[in-house]
Symmetry: C2
Subunit: 134 residues, 2 copies
């Protein structure tokens, strides 16, 4: 049963704050790193590159938590526990530019050998939404 976002949460998620995406490896090693994200209707979109730990973890265990803390008020935060419903390489390059527009106001500045064809979009269905709107 997917969880829906209420209006304050939706407004908060539409602000361009960075999230922390938590995944787990098959051996039980946790990873939690900052990510850009987008609200895509009732789903969440993140984007990564082939070979990254978070992608490998999610391909093996598609459950995650995405936590967003308001940098101006750390008592305003949301945790979304979710499940990946699609990995999409075909729209990966387009989506990293959409994300980059949201966060940097310009197309994605590729670096360190990263390439458009390596980008992968990850579409997430929220299963549980929890937080504090302090």
């Amino acid at each position: 049963m997917p969880a829906a976002f209420d209006e304050p949460t939706r407004n908060f998620l539409n602000e361009p704050n960075v999230g922390v995406l938590a995944t787990v490896s098959p051996r039980g090693r946790l990873q939690a790193t900052p990510v850009w994200f987008l609200l895509e209707g009732d789903k969440l979109l993140v984007n990564t590159s082939q070979g990254r730990v978070k992608l490998r973890n999610l391909q093996k265990h598609p459950y995650l938590a995405l936590t967003v803390v308001d940098p101006k008020n750390v008592y305003r935060w949301v945790q979304i526990q979710g499940k990946v419903i699609r990995f999409d390489n075909a729209i990966g390059a387009r989506d990293i530019d959409r994300l980059s527009q949201r966060y940097l106001g310009k197309p994605y500045p590729y670096f360190s050998g990263d390439k458009p064809e390596h980008r992968v979009s990850i579409l997430i269905r929220p299963l549980n939404v929890h937080g504090m709107m302090g």
Copy 2:
């Protein structure tokens, strides 16, 4: 082999920024929620209350990631992958006051039925430290 903190990381961790603590349940459900933390020598200290999901998760699987993002510069962040080396109820009430002094400048304001005797300190050994000092 425990990981050591270099000087810039240590300085960053000594700033009173909130971390996001990621744990996993025995069924593979990720949890990632904001936490107060303290650098305690080469270890990290967090504190929670009996019955909380993060404590139950860590009692069953003592591996975690603690990620700290600078709210003034989100490209400055550290991820610490670590292992719990001690749960300590005896110093739990003392430590939540130490944490509260660090973050709020006053003793911990208990709420919602939480009590000093419920507080548990969690001492974490860093196994891997990774981040960006952007």
